[in-house]
């Protein structure tokens, strides 16, 4: 049984996706934020930018490390979480909620390449 939300899909690089119609909320998982430690900076692209599955769309920086964020879908960014500019710690505190990063208007969901909660759990356990 997975400890990760069942209604989300995941990447093996530790992003999560929540589909609502043709829109997708995207963030990083509780495992990822825990491995990174205290997050102090989240660099996100501008609204309107097109992103392609697998591309780097931003970076997340913790005290000890910096990580690229990989796009888990293809589409256009329609919103970014502005609150993270002043409060990046929200990613640590609530990674699946207030710590969301971007909303994408999806043109390709790439669902076959995304992982279910249980499959993602296995990646983490590896």
């Amino acid at each position: 049984m997975s400890t990760y939300p069942q209604d989300l899909l995941y990447t093996k690089e530790h992003e999560w996706v929540r589909f609502e119609g043709n829109r997708a909320h995207i963030g990083i998982t509780s495992f990822a934020q825990s491995e990174l430690g205290d997050i102090v900076f989240v660099e996100l692209p501008a609204v309107g930018k097109e992103i392609r599955f697998g591309d780097t769309f931003g970076t997340v920086e913790s005290v000890k490390t910096v990580s690229d964020l990989f796009a888990p879908v293809t589409g256009k960014i329609v919103a970014i979480n502005e609150a993270l500019q002043d409060a990046p710690e929200k990613v640590n505190e609530d990674p699946f909620g207030e710590g969301w990063m971007i909303v994408v208007e999806v043109t390709d969901k790439h669902e076959a390449e995304l992982l279910t909660a249980d499959a993602y759990q296995e990646v983490v356990n590896e």
Binding site: E13, D38, F41, E61, V63, V66, L69
Partner: protein, 425 residues
């Protein structure tokens, strides 16, 4: 995500009985090449989640301090640091950092090495090895010193404890232990050299409330020990220790040397005694952010085989006029001619972190490189130390740091970034 981690390798332990560990991601920064007057070349080695299988180093393969069992008990994230399984954090780097600034934190730094030099000529032989003046030390006193090569580059930076005029302990960085032991053994010919690293554990109790905590578990008047002095054979938590008024955090505090077999008793005793003061366990992550705010150098970053203590701004620990020592000729010439690069403090305009090895630019030209950078939990700003062309060392100088292709504005600021208030001293 493709994470990179400087200097330390992230390893995660899985459960009580499973010491299987996994390198999530890591990046080592190495300075290579001989000193030529140019910026040292920097080599990055990237590991990441996708090739972890080739790079895995198990916790069971790493060296352990006598306090290893405490990491699991108190929920540390363990990393490979200089070949030791060490806690990078317990509750979180920022939380631990702020606790040390305002209350008290306890660190296991038993990975540090202790090398005993003894004999009738110990004073002169140790004195020749280091740039600071050991001859002025009386028993009970400590000094900080770089230890240099003939060419002026740095072997290590060490603490020298004077037990007696014929007995000194040199405390060395874990990452340099083997190299230092070989170096000391080679250059100390008339005295006896004994490596005590495996027999000695080292705990650091740091923060404004460390006096209050330590006073509860000893009858000795530890408040009376002056800064950079120590006392031997002090009973703390029922075990015999060396109590040293030193640290690497920029706060008041103590370092306690203890027999390896007594380490857990001391560790648990201090933790229990400090409950009222809000004692917190702190890892190497907080140790690094604390030392950086206090502008304390870290070997491999501000000091290397290619960087001299004069370039690192440590002239006050290089006693050119007082004594003869290894590297003196080159360092004297460097002082005479002026250093070709200078270590400065930087404050970034963005929260983006300047990592070691990143270029420093003025008008698009590379004029230096970052040696250490972090997010300062005290100032809530991104700060860095960088080696720059001395023409750009003035406080207020505007420059840029090249962060993953972007030029982030930064300003040269006064260091240390943080200095503790007088009433705490």
């Amino acid at each position: 995500m493709d994470a990179t981690l400087e200097s330390v390798t992230s390893v995660t332990t899985h459960g009580e009985n499973d010491t299987r560990a996994r390198i999530i991601t890591s990046r080592f920064v190495e300075l290579s090449g001989k000193w030529t007057g140019e910026m040292p070349k920097i080599r990055y080695l990237f590991f990441d989640v996708r090739n972890k299988k080739e790079k895995v180093r198990l916790v069971s393969e790493l060296l352990r301090t006598p306090l290893f069992a405490m990491y699991e008990k108190y929920g540390a994230k363990v990393v490979d640091f200089a070949g030791f399984a060490m806690p990078v954090q317990f509750a979180g780097i920022i939380k631990e950092h702020l606790a040390v600034r305002t209350q008290v934190g306890l660190f296991d730094v038993s990975h540090m090495g202790e090398i005993l030099v003894e004999g009738d000529h110990a004073c002169e032989e140790v004195d020749f090895l280091v740039t600071n003046d050991v001859t002025r030390l009386h028993p009970g006193q400590i000094l900080y010193s770089p230890m240099c090569y003939e060419h002026g580059g740095t072997v290590d930076d060490v603490l020298v404890y004077c037990l007696a005029k014929e007995r000194y302990i040199i405390v060395v960085n874990a990452s340099n232990h083997d190299k230092d032991l070989a170096w000391i053994t080679k250059h100390v010919n008339k005295s006896k050299v004994t490596d005590q690293t495996d027999q000695v554990a080292l705990l650091a109790l740091q923060g404004p409330k460390s006096i209050a905590v330590l006073s509860k578990v000893t009858n000795e008047d530890i408040a009376a020990i002056p800064y950079y002095q120590f006392k031997e054979n002090i009973t703390v938590c029922g075990v015999k220790t060396i109590v040293s008024r030193t640290g690497y955090t920029g706060e008041d505090g103590y370092e306690l040397y203890v027999d390896a077999q007594d380490a857990i008793t001391l560790f648990e005793g201090l933790l229990e005694a400090g409950k009222e003061e809000g004692i917190i366990l702190a890892g190497l992550g907080a140790r690094d952010t604390l030392r950086l705010e206090a502008r304390l150098p870290l070997y491999g970053h501000e000091l290397t085989e290619d960087l001299s203590p004069l370039e690192a701004g440590l002239a006050m620990f290089v006693k050119l006029d007082q004594h003869d020592f290894m590297g003196k000729t080159v360092l004297a010439a460097q002082k005479e001619q002026g250093v070709k690069k200078a270590l400065v403090g930087l404050e970034l305009a963005s929260r983006s972190i300047a990592r070691a090895g990143m270029n420093v630019l003025v008008d698009g030209q590379v004029i230096g490189f970052v040696s250490s950078g972090t997010f300062s939990p005290t100032l809530e700003k991104s700060i860095a130390l960088a080696f720059v062309d001395p023409a750009y060392r003035t406080v207020g100088q505007q420059l840029h740091i090249e962060v993953r292709g972007n030029q982030v504005p930064a300003t040269v600021v006064k260091t240390p970034f943080y200095r503790r208030k007088k009433e705490n001293q």
